[in-house]
């Protein structure tokens, strides 16, 4: 059984679910031994559609697919963390489209190609599904060696994105989780 690193332990202990996971692992370790823990770990890795997600609420609509966001909630390409616009194109710091090498795309006159809309992922979900979006809380996990912040996109909704009943999760004031996103920090774990 792999030892938890300090940062993972810190990240996991910062949330209720992290605490429960830790306590559960401890109980299993005591009662069932390492083999069973390893087996359950493997199941956990495959049970949800992205690392760190521990419930069945689906991803928020995202221009590329996996709901990776930056710290302001705007979409990033999951594979490399590059910012993308609503068309899924890689863009520069001010939102203009760039080519795969990062060179600004220009029209035949040499002017930069126009910006396309870029919408916060939770905002786009609210717009598409007709609710007032709000980000309330988050939880943390260690994914690919870095602390990942998992973010609920909340709203006054009865159902989540896949149509099942919505849960409270990390939403407050009666709001419930509609869909989930994540932000990969640079903090190693």
């Amino acid at each position: 059984m792999r030892e938890l690193s300090l940062s993972e332990a810190v990240a996991a202990s910062t949330s209720r679910r992290g605490f429960l996971a830790r306590a559960g692992r401890l109980l299993l370790g005591v009662s069932g031994g390492g083999f069973l823990v390893a087996a359950l770990r493997a199941q956990k890795a495959e049970a949800y559609h992205f690392c760190g997600h521990i419930y069945t609420t689906g991803s928020c609509p995202h221009p590329v697919g996996l709901p990776r966001i930056d710290r302001n909630g705007f979409p990033l390409r999951a594979v490399d963390g590059k910012p993308v616009d609503d068309l899924g194109r890689q863009i520069d710091a001010v939102g203009r489209p760039v080519d795969p090498r990062g060179d600004l795309l220009r029209d035949p006159d040499g002017n930069p190609l126009p910006l396309a809309p870029r919408t916060r992922v939770c905002t786009a979900a609210g717009r598409e599904f007709g609710f007032r979006p709000q980000i309330d809380g988050a939880w943390y996990r260690c994914c690919n060696g870095h602390v990942r912040k998992l973010v609920d996109c909340c709203g006054s909704v009865r159902n989540r994105i896949n149509g099942d009943a919505a849960l409270t999760g990390y939403c407050y004031s009666g709001r419930r989780v509609f869909c989930v996103m994540y932000y990969d920090t640079k903090i190693k774990c």
Binding site: H49, S59, L66, P108, L115, P117
Partner: protein, 451 residues
């Protein structure tokens, strides 16, 4: 049918000619009624599913006829035999022709016969569908009339290889027609070339690094400047800040002036419009000493190339919060946002009377759209894949349950970008940008049929 038409030969050449003509007329009328109706229906229904289905039927017909497969389905209902006994022969044959031309009766010798009504419907043009129908009628009439004239009633039955060759020929013709239709639907006009404008048979464009060109009935003339625009009876271009407005037919200059920073021009009989920097400005050609601001972009917004039809200027305005197309009447100052999108990019509109042509780039496709200026349902004239792909929606080693990918079918992205447009009565023009190293792009001008 060959025997029935051939029977008239016993009454002399005149009687045979009359009978043959009646049969041909009946075929033509039957085909006109059915294919004309299909064409009219096709004009009112614009469905991509219909086109895909028609192409699928045509592809199946090509394969079936090329391979000589059994023709299916078949109509077992034959023409009423008693008509030839109870009616004068020309009258009976006219009615036989009517039924055969309408495709309502008797066996068909080639599967292609089933592809024709489907294509007639999908074409979306009554005239085009009628042409298909008349071709179908001609194809049904000719073998019957030729064999009847030669008295070879059993020729096809005795020499089936003739029918086999005919089916192969039909398959090749259908394939050629589809390829030709595709070529006509979207063909390259010039490359490198972009920023088109068009009036009737006059098409102007810019060749990067070379200058403006004017094509009239296929004859290409280089203009003494850049960013040419045609409109009304005029053509405009600029060489640096020196802007020239000239007669379109003779290219004789009518107005010459200096406009600092002028980049993109648009012209009509009364107005000259240009984009310079973050502004679009207009000037009456009757008084070049005064100009007025049409729109000025804010710092984080971008303005498109203006297009002009009569008194109406259209342009795109693009921001990170959305993009929209605005039409401004420069004669009275009224302006109206004619299209708006918060999650897609609307680009480079052009205008012809009540019709608006523009590019809509969204997450899952790039479309060249034609629709009413005042709003309503747009038609997609041309489409390219989206500019970005998508990931699997889930991390490697994890379940797909809960993923949410943007496009229903995994898109195969392209680097080609739909760009500036121009619109004529029959044709829509659009520039396609192809990225090169360093972020630069090379334009190609293509023409797309409005049908």
């Amino acid at each position: 049918m060959v025997g029935t038409v051939g029977a008239a030969r016993q009454n002399g050449r005149r009687a045979f000619a009359l009978t043959a003509a009646a049969f041909a007329a009946g075929l033509a009328l039957g085909a006109t009624l059915v294919f004309g109706a299909l064409g009219l229906l096709g004009e009112t229904v614009h469905s991509r599913v219909l086109v895909i289905a028609a192409v699928a039927v045509a592809a199946a017909a090509i394969l079936s006829d090329a391979a000589g497969l059994r023709v299916r389905p078949q109509i077992r209902f034959q023409v009423p035999e008693r008509w030839r006994r109870t009616m004068p022969l020309p009258q009976a044959l006219f009615l036989y022709g009517l039924l055969l031309g309408a495709g309502l009766t008797t066996y068909v010798p080639a599967t292609a016969a089933w592809a024709l009504p489907a294509l007639g419907l999908a074409l979306g043009s009554a005239a085009g569908s009628l042409a298909i129908g008349l071709g179908f009628a001609l194809g049904r009439a000719l073998p019957v009339l030729v064999l009847a004239a030669r008295g070879e009633e059993t020729a096809l039955a005795e020499r089936p290889q003739g029918l086999r060759a005919l089916r192969a020929l039909i398959a090749a013709s259908l394939l050629l027609a589809l390829v030709a239709g595709e070529v006509q639907a979207a063909g390259t006009v010039a490359a490198p070339a972009g920023d088109p404008s068009v009036v009737g048979a006059d098409l102007a464009w810019q060749q990067p690094g070379v200058g403006g060109f004017l094509s009239r009935n296929g004859v290409k003339t280089q203009l003494p400047g850049n960013d040419p625009a045609v409109g009304g009876a005029l053509v405009a271009w600029h060489a640096g800040p020196a802007v020239t407005v000239a007669a379109r037919d003779t290219l004789a200059p009518m107005v010459q002036e200096t406009i600092a920073g002028a980049q993109k021009l648009a012209v009509s009989d009364r107005w000259l419009v240009w984009r310079s920097g973050r502004q679009i400005r207009v000037q009456p050609l009757s008084d070049p000493s005064r100009s007025a601001l049409v729109v000025e972009a804010k710092r984080v917004a971008e303005l498109g190339r203006p297009a002009l039809d009569g008194d109406l200027v259209v342009y795109h305005y693009s921001t990170a919060a959305g993009s929209w197309l605005t039409a401004v009447n420069v004669a009275n100052g009224t302006r109206r946002r004619v299209r708006f999108a918060r999650d897609a990019q609307l680009l480079n509109p052009s205008l012809l009377g009540p019709s608006l042509l523009y590019v809509r780039a969204s997450r899952c496709s790039q479309e060249l759209r034609l629709g009413p200026l005042r709003g309503g349902k747009d038609r997609v004239l041309f489409e390219l894949p989206p500019l970005a792909g998508q990931d699997s929606g889930h991390d490697r080693g994890h379940t797909s349950q809960g993923e949410h990918v943007p496009c229903p079918h995994r898109p195969k992205p392209t680097t080609r970008i739909l760009w500036t447009t121009a619109l004529s009565d029959t044709t829509a023009y659009v520039t396609i940008l192809r990225p090169r190293r360093g972020g630069r792009t090379t334009p190609t001008l293509i023409a797309v049929s409005r049908r």
